[in-house]
C-alpha cells in the first residue's frame, strides 16, 4: 500500500492532534480513562478554588495558578498522545478511503447478463454484480463465475496483478480493487459500511477500538493504585492539623496528581492504537485488538510447510534409474513426460534434464504427442506419443497402473516376461523412493511403455534463514509445528532440516483441527495461517488465525487477521508485534510507578516544611524552595508524558531472548531507570524554575 511514511511528529499530524487534544477534554470522553478522569476532576476543582481566590483575593496566586496550568497541560498532553496515535491511523485510512469514492456497480437483474447500474452503496449481501475489465469491484465478494486478473494495489500495495477465479482457493475479491482483464461475476458478501476496507479504516482510526483483556486488567490496577493514593493524600490534612498546621488544597492536589500513575494512564490508549497501527503498516489487518494481544501470548505456531518453510515448489535435483536403465534414458523420458506439464515441478524436470544431459526442449506438436494431465484419481501425468506412453507420478500410483493393465501397451508375447521382471523393478523403485523420502524429498516414479525406468528426486527447498527464525521462536518460548500433506518420513526430514519442533504429516483439515484442540486443551494458545475453505474451521478454532488475502471468503471470515501480502512467514512478525504491545504497557506502568519515589522526595519535605523544618533533610535533591519543588514535580509529571510519546507509539524494542533476560533488561531500564530519571529531571526543572523566578 502506498501509505504515507509519517514521521512521528510531522506537522501534518501534530496540528490536528493538538485540536483533538482539546476536544478530548470532554468529560464524557475522559471517563473511559479512570486515571486521567480523576486528574480532570481535581484540575476543575482547583480551578474553581483558584477563581474564588482570585476574586476574594488570596495569597500565592501565581504559584497556584502555575500548578493548575500544569494540571491542564498534563491532561492535554495525555489527550495529545491519543490524538496523535489516532492521527497516524487516520493518515493511513485516508488513502484507503479514496478507493471507496463514488463507485458504481453493475447489478445483474436476471439471466443473459442484463444489469442495471446502481451506486455501490446500495448493494446488499447476496447481490450478484458483473465486473468487467477496467471496473472497480464495488464491494467485498466471492467470484461465482469467470476468471480475471485483478489489481489489488489499493489494499496490498503490491502492483503485480493477481488472478481471481470462481471455485478453489482464490475466489475472494475485495471492494475497491480493479479488474484488469476479462470479466467475473461476483456475489456480494459484505454490505456497504462493513466491507474489509471499512473495517480497516475503523480499526486504524481507533474508532472501533475496544479494550483488550489485559488492558482492562491494567486499568483495574491503575484505578486501584489511584485509590491507594487517594487514601494516602486525603489523610494528610488531618495529620497536618494534628501537627498544628494546614496544607493548601493546591499542594495536596499536586502531590496526588504526581503520585497517581498518570504517565501510563495518559499513554495507555495511544499504545493500543499504535499497536494496531504497526500491524497495518505490516499489511496485516486484525479484526480486534484482542487478537493482537493474543498473538503475543501464542505458545504454538502451526505453519504450512509449502510456502512458509519451503519455497513454494519442489524442484527436481536428481534422476535415479533402476538397474539396467541409463540415467540419460530416464532423464529423456521424464523430460518428455514433463514438456507439457506447466507445474513448477514439471518445469524443474525439464530444466534439470537440460542442465545435466543437454536434453533440449522438444516441440510437442512435432512429436505428435498428446499430453495426459494430472488428475486426483490417477495421481499421474504423462504423454502419449507415436505408440509409446510415458507416465510419471506418485510411486504407488505408477506401479499400480502397471499391474492393472499389464498387456495394454505391450505385445501379447512379451507380457509374461515383463510380469516376471516387474516385481523386482517395483521393489527397486520402492527402495529408491524410500531412500528419497527419508532425505526429505518427494519421489516421482517414471515408466515408459509399462516398464519402470526409475525415480525423479524432487526436493523441497527450505527457505534460506528459516532455521534461524525458528531458533528465535524457540528462544521466545514458542513451539513450531509444521503441517504438511507429505508422508511422515519426508515430513520428518524436512522438519529436521528446517529446525521446527514438531510436524503433522499427511495432515487433513480434520487433523489440523484436532491438533489445535489438543494444544488448546493443554492451555496453550495456537496461531496458524491458512487460505483455503477447508482451513476455515481450523482458522476459527485457532486463537490467532491469519487468513491470506488471496484466500477464500470463508477463510477470511474464519480468521481474526488477514494478511494482505499473503505471506505466511509473517505470522512470526505478528507474534512479535503482539509481544511488543504488552511489553510497552508493562514497561511504562513500571516506569510510572517507579517515578513516585522521587516525587515523594520532592513534595513531602516541601509540603511539611512549615510544620517540621527538620524534614528539610529529606530534600535530597536540594530543590530551591518548597514552591519550586512542588512546581518542578508537577512540570516533570506533565513533560514526561510528552517525552514518552515516541516510545508509546513505536513500542519497546523486542528481542527474541528468554523471558528472564528480557525481564532483567526491562526492569533495569524501566524500573531502576524510572526511579533515577525523575530525580535528575525534577532537579533540572527546579534549576530552570528558580532561574526564571517562577517560584
Amino acid at each position: 500500500m502506498s501509505r504515507p511514511s509519517t514521521s512521528l511528529f510531522s506537522a501534518a499530524l501534530v496540528g490536528p492532534a493538538l485540536l483533538g487534544a482539546a476536544a478530548k477534554l470532554d468529560p464524557r470522553a475522559m471517563i473511559r480513562n479512570p486515571v486521567m478522569f480523576v486528574v480532570e476532576v481535581v484540575a476543575a476543582l482547583t480551578t474553581v478554588l483558584f477563581l474564588r481566590d482570585l476574586i476574594a483575593g488570596g495569597s500565592d496566586l501565581l504559584f497556584s495558578g502555575q500548578i493548575i496550568l500544569w494540571l491542564w497541560f498534563t491532561l492535554l498532553f495525555a489527550n495529545f498522545a491519543e490524538a496523535l496515535a489516532e492521527g497516524r491511523g487516520k493518515a493511513q485510512a485516508e488513502s484507503l478511503r479514496r478507493t471507496r469514492t463514488e463507485m458504481t456497480a453493475k447489478r445483474l437483474t436476471g439471466a443473459n447478463r442484463s444489469y442495471e447500474t446502481v451506486p455501490g452503496t446500495s448493494l446488499k449481501v447476496g447481490d450478484l454484480v458483473l465486473v468487467e475489465a477496467g471496473d472497480l469491484i464495488p464491494s467485498d465478494g466471492e467470484v461465482v463465475a469467470g476468471v480475471a486478473s485483478v489489481n489489488e494495489a489499493a489494499i496490498t500495495g503490491e502492483s503485480a496483478p493477481v488472478i481471481r477465479e470462481s471455485g478453489g482457493d482464490r475466489s475472494a475479491v475485495t471492494g475497491g480493487t480493479q479488474v484488469l482483464s476479462d470479466e467475473i461475476t461476483v456475489r456480494i458478501t459484505a454490505a456497504a459500511g462493513s466491507t474489509f476496507v471499512d473495517r480497516m479504516i475503523a480499526l486504524v482510526e481507533g474508532a472501533s477500538r475496544q479494550k483488550t483483556p489485559n488492558e482492562i486488567a491494567l486499568n483495574i490496577l491503575l484505578a486501584g493504585l489511584t485509590l491507594v493514593f487517594v487514601f494516602a493524600v486525603a489523610s494528610i490534612p488531618s495529620f497536618a492539623s494534628y501537627a498544628g498546621g494546614s496544607i493548601p488544597v493546591v499542594v495536596l492536589v499536586a502531590l496526588f496528581v504526581t503520585l497517581i500513575p498518570t504517565t501510563i494512564g495518559a499513554l495507555l490508549s495511544a499504545i493500543g492504537i499504535a499497536g494496531m497501527d504497526r500491524l497495518v503498516r505490516f499489511n496485516v489487518l486484525a479484526m480486534s485488538g484482542r487478537a493482537v494481544e493474543a498473538a503475543g501470548d501464542v505458545d504454538t505456531l502451526l505453519l504450512d510447510k509449502t510456502g512458509t518453510i519451503t519455497l513454494g515448489n519442489r524442484q527436481a535435483t536428481e534422476f535415479r534409474p533402476i538397474r539396467g536403465i541409463g540415467e540419460k534414458d530416464l532423464a529423456d523420458a521424464a523430460q518428455l513426460a514433463s514438456l507439457a506439464d506447466e507445474t513448477p515441478e514439471g518445469r524443474s524436470i525439464v530444466v534439470l534434464a537440460k542442465e545435466k544431459y543437454g536434453i533440449r526442449a522438444r516441440d510437442m506438436g512435432g512429436l505428435n504427442a498428446t499430453f495426459v494431465p494430472f488428475t486426483a484419481q490417477t495421481r499421474m501425468s504423462g504423454v502419449d506419443l507415436q505408440g509409446s506412453s510415458i507416465r510419471k507420478g506418485a510411486v504407488e500410483a505408477v506401479i499400480a497402473s502397471l499391474t492393472e493393465q499389464p498387456a495394454a501397451a505391450r505385445g501379447q508375447g512379451a507380457g509374461l516376461a515383463v510380469l516376471e521382471r516387474e516385481p523386482a523393478a517395483a521393489a527397486e523403485v520402492r527402495a529408491i523412493a524410500e531412500d528419497i523420502a527419508k532425505g526429505g524429498g518427494t519421489p516421482l516414479a517414471v515408466a515408459r511403455d509399462g516398464r519402470l525406468l526409475g525415480v525423479v528426486y524432487l526436493k523441497d527447498i527450505v527457505k534460506g534463514g528459516i532455521r534461524e527464525r525458528f531458533a528465535e521462536l524457540r528462544r521466545m518460548g514458542i513451539r513450531t509445528v509444521m503441517i504438511t500433506g507429505d508422508n511422515p518420513m519426508t515430513a520428518a526430514a524436512i522438519a529436521a532440516e528446517a529446525g521446527v519442533d514438531d510436524f503433522l504429516a499427511q495432515a487433513t483439515p480434520e487433523d489440523k483441527l484436532a491438533l489445535i484442540r489438543r494444544e488448546q486443551a493443554e492451555g496453550k494458545l495456537v496461531a496458524m495461517c491458512g487460505d483455503g475453505t477447508n482451513d476455515a474451521p481450523a482458522l476459527a478454532q485457532a486463537d490467532v488465525g491469519v487468513a491470506m488475502n488471496t484466500g477464500t471468503v470463508a477463510a477470511r471470515e474464519a480468521g481474526n487477521m488477514v494478511d494482505l501480502d499473503s505471506d505466511p512467514t509473517k505470522l512470526i512478525e505478528i507474534v512479535g508485534i503482539g509481544k511488543q504491545l504488552l511489553m510497552t504497557r508493562g514497561a511504562l506502568t513500571t516506569f510510572s510507578i517507579a517515578n513516585d519515589v522521587a516525587k515523594y522526595f520532592a513534595i513531602i519535605p516541601a509540603m511539611f516544611l512549615a510544620l517540621y523544618p527538620q524534614l528539610q533533610a529529606l530534600n535530597v535533591m536540594g530543590l530551591a524552595s518548597p514552591q519550586s519543588a512542588i512546581l518542578s514535580a508537577i512540570i516533570f509529571n506533565a513533560l514526561i508524558i510528552i517525552a514518552l510519546i515516541p516510545l508509546a507509539l513505536k513500542g519497546v524494542a523486542y528481542r527474541p531472548v528468554g523471558a528472564a533476560s528480557l525481564l532483567r533488561r526491562n526492569l533495569l531500564i524501566y524500573g531502576l531507570g524510572g526511579m533515577i530519571v525523575p530525580f535528575i529531571g525534577i532537579k533540572a526543572i527546579d534549576l530552570a524554575v528558580s532561574a526564571l523566578h517562577l517560584a
Partner: protein
C-alpha cells in the same frame, strides 16, 4: 552492635530455616489428607468429630462456599466469646472475682481474638477470669490461627489445581489444622515452657510480703498453655499485661529464643507447603527468600538504631544503646530481634516496649505491619498476603516479557487483579483513614500519652497494628475507651476479612483455570530476579502508601531527635 547480638540473629535464622522443610512436609501431608505418624491416634478422633457434626469430609466447597463457612464460623465464635466475657461473673473459674467486661471492651476483645489480632485493651490479670482466658481466649487463639492456615491452604490449592471449582472443605481444613498441627505442637511446647518456669495452675494469685512489709499480689494462672498457642498461632495476646516481658511469660533466654522461633515456624513452613502443593518446592523457597530479605533488612535497621541509642541522651554524654523499655535480661539484640519478628509475623507479643524504641527502631515494626505483614506473617495470613503481592508483581512485570502475565501456569487476568487490589486497598483505608479521624476528633486526641510526632506515631501504630491483625501496642496510648475500642475493632475486622475473602476469590478463580505448561517465554519465578522484583513491589506499593504518615511520625521524630529537639508530654 555486638558479635553476640549478630550470632543470636544468625542462630535464629538458621533454626527457622532448618524447620521449614520438616514442617512443610508434615503440613503438606496433613492438608492433602495423607497419613501422618499421628494418624493412628488422631484419625479416629477426626472421624468422630465429622460424624458428630454430620459432615461428609469428602464434600469440597467452591470459594464462595468456603468463604461462607469461614464467615459463619467466626460469627458463632464471636457470639460465644462475647457472651463469655459479658457473663464471666456468673460463670465458674473466677477465683479473683473479676467483674463483667464492658460492652465496648468485650466487642473489641472478641473481635481482636477471632481475627487473630489479640489487641489487648485490657490487662489480662486484672480483667479476665480463668474461664474467659482459657475457654474464651485460648480457644479463639487456636481457631483463629487454624482459620488463617485454612485460607492459606485453600489459596495454595487455587494455584495447584486446574479446571476445578472447589478449593477443599473449610471444616476439614480447620479441623486438621487444629487437631494435627496446633494441638500436638502446643502440648509439647507447653510442657517445655513449664519446664522453663512458666506457671500452669488454676490456683488463685499468691500474696507475698515484700521486704518493705507491703503485700504484693503475684498473679498466676494457666499461663504456659496460652503462651504456647499465642506464639505458634501468631496471636500474641499475653496472659499478663506485660506480655513476653513478664518473667512468668518469658522466664529464660532459652524460652525467649524458642518463643521467637515458634512465631515464625508455621508461617515459614507454609511457604514450603506452597512449594510442595504446586509441585515445585523452589517456588516456596523464592517466596521465603523475599520475606527473608525484607526481614533481615528490618532487623539490621532496628538493631543498629537501638544500639546507637538516643541521640538526645548521647548529646548529654550518656552514650550507649537504648535500654529504655527493655528487659535487661534480654538486652538490645534480643529485644530488637523480637520486635521485628513479632511485627513481621502478625504475632504482636512483645518482650520490650516498642514505644520506647528510638524513632527509627520503632519505624521498622510500623513498616512491617503497614506492608501487610507479609514477611512470614501471621500463620496463613502472611502467605496469602504475600501471594496477593506476588500477583501484582507478576502482573506488572509479566507484561514486560510480552505475554499475558502468568504465575505457576495460571494467567493473571482482570478478576485476580481486581481482588488483589481490593485486598491491598483495605489496609491503607483502615490504617490511614482511622488515624486521620483520630487525629482530629477530641476522643481520638485524648488517647496518646505524648505530644508531637511521637503521639502521632502512637495513634498510627494502634490502627496499623489492628488493621494488620498484629495486636502489638506501641504503648502510651490509652486505648480502652469507647472510641478506640470500637474503631480498632472495625479496623481488625476489615483488615482480616477484606483480605481473606478476596484471597479466596482469587483462589477460586485460579482453580478454575487451566495450568499452562511453562516455556522459555514464561519467566522463572524461583530465581533471584523474581525475589528482587517481589521485594521491590512490596516496598514500593506498601512504602509509597505510607510515606507521608511515616514522614510525619517516626521520621520527623528521628530528625528532630538528631537535632536535640524533644516534644514533651501531652494528651
Amino acid at each position: 552492635m555486638t558479635l553476640n547480638g549478630w550470632i543470636q540473629i544468625a542462630l535464629f535464622c538458621v533454626v527457622v530455616l532448618a524447620l521449614v522443610k520438616p514442617l512443610g512436609f508434615y503440613m503438606t501431608r496433613v492438608f492433602t489428607g495423607e497419613r501422618t505418624f499421628l494418624s493412628p491416634v488422631l484419625a479416629p478422633i477426626e472421624r468422630g468429630l465429622y460424624r458428630a457434626a454430620g459432615l461428609d469430609e469428602r464434600q469440597e466447597q467452591t470459594w464462595l462456599g468456603y468463604a461462607g463457612a469461614l464467615v459463619l464460623f467466626h460469627v458463632f465464635g464471636f457470639v460465644l466469646l462475647y457472651a463469655i466475657l459479658r457473663l464471666q461473673t456468673l460463670l465458674p473459674l473466677n477465683p479473683a472475682g473479676q467483674g463483667e467486661v464492658a460492652p465496648d471492651l468485650a466487642f473489641n476483645t472478641s473481635t481482636s481474638f477471632l481475627t487473630n489480632t489479640n489487641w489487648q485493651s485490657y490487662g489480662g490479670e486484672t480483667t479476665l477470669s480463668y474461664l474467659s482466658q482459657m475457654l474464651g481466649l485460648t480457644h479463639q487463639n487456636f481457631l483463629s490461627a487454624a482459620s488463617g492456615i485454612a485460607v492459606a491452604v485453600a489459596m495454595i490449592r487455587g494455584f495447584g489445581r486446574a479446571s476445578t471449582r472447589t478449593l477443599g472443605s473449610f471444616w476439614v481444613d480447620l479441623t486438621r489444622a487444629t487437631l494435627y498441627l496446633l494441638l500436638p505442637l502446643c502440648v509439647i511446647y507447653t510442657l517445655f515452657l513449664v519446664w522453663q518456669g512458666i506457671p500452669q495452675t488454676l490456683g488463685a494469685s499468691v500474696d507475698a510480703t515484700t521486704l518493705e512489709g507491703a503485700t504484693q499480689t503475684i498473679a498466676l494462672g494457666p499461663v504456659a498453655s496460652q503462651v504456647a498457642i499465642k506464639m505458634l498461632g501468631t496471636n500474641g495476646g499475653g496472659f499478663f499485661n506485660a506480655n513476653a516481658a513478664h518473667p512468668f511469660e518469658n522466664p529464660t533466654a532459652l524460652a525467649n529464643f524458642v518463643q521467637m522461633v515458634t512465631i515464625f515456624a508455621i508461617g515459614a513452613g507454609l511457604t514450603n507447603v506452597f512449594g510442595r502443593m504446586v509441585g515445585d518446592e523452589r517456588q516456596g523457597w523464592a517466596i521465603l527468600a523475599a520475606m527473608g530479605v525484607l526481614f533481615l533488612a528490618g532487623v539490621a535497621v532496628t538493631y543498629w538504631a537501638e544500639a546507637q541509642g538516643s541521640s538526645v541522651l548521647n548529646g548529654l554524654g550518656l552514650t550507649g544503646g537504648n535500654m529504655e523499655g527493655k528487659e535487661t535480661r534480654f538486652g538490645i539484640a534480643a529485644s530488637a530481634l523480637f520486635a521485628v519478628i513479632t511485627t513481621a509475623a502478625s504475632c504482636g507479643a512483645v518482650n520490650a516496649m516498642h514505644d520506647s524504641f528510638t524513632a527509627l527502631g520503632g519505624l521498622v515494626p510500623l513498616i512491617n505491619m503497614q506492608l501487610g505483614e507479609v514477611i512470614v506473617g501471621g500463620v496463613g495470613a502472611g502467605l496469602y498476603g504475600m501471594l496477593i503481592f506476588v500477583l501484582i508483581a507478576i502482573f506488572v512485570a509479566g507484561l514486560m516479557v510480552g505475554r499475558t502475565p502468568e504465575y505457576l501456569g495460571k494467567k493473571i487476568e482482570a478478576k485476580e487483579v481486581k481482588m488483589a487490589m481490593l485486598g491491598i486497598l483495605c489496609l491503607p483505608l483502615m490504617m490511614l483513614g482511622f488515624t486521620a479521624v483520630a487525629t482530629v476528633l477530641p476522643a481520638g486526641l485524648a488517647g496518646p500519652a505524648n505530644a508531637g510526632p511521637h503521639g502521632f506515631s502512637e495513634i498510627l501504630y494502634a490502627y496499623t497494628s489492628a488493621a494488620a491483625n498484629n495486636g502489638s501496642a506501641f504503648g502510651g496510648l490509652t486505648a480502652n475507651t469507647l472510641f478506640y475500642n470500637t474503631t480498632l475493632a472495625i479496623a481488625m475486622l476489615v483488615g482480616r476479612f477484606f483480605v481473606k475473602i478476596p484471597a479466596l476469590a482469587i483462589a477460586g478463580s485460579l482453580a478454575a483455570k487451566k495450568t499452562l505448561p511453562a516455556s522459555a517465554g514464561t519467566f522463572p519465578t524461583h530465581g533471584g530476579l523474581f525475589v528482587g522484583l517481589l521485594v521491590g513491589v512490596v516496598l514500593i506499593i506498601g512504602g509509597l502508601t505510607f510515606f507521608p504518615s511515616l514522614a510525619l511520625g517516626p521520621v520527623v521524630e528521628h530528625l528532630a531527635g538528631s537535632a536535640g529537639q524533644t516534644f514533651g508530654t501531652g494528651g
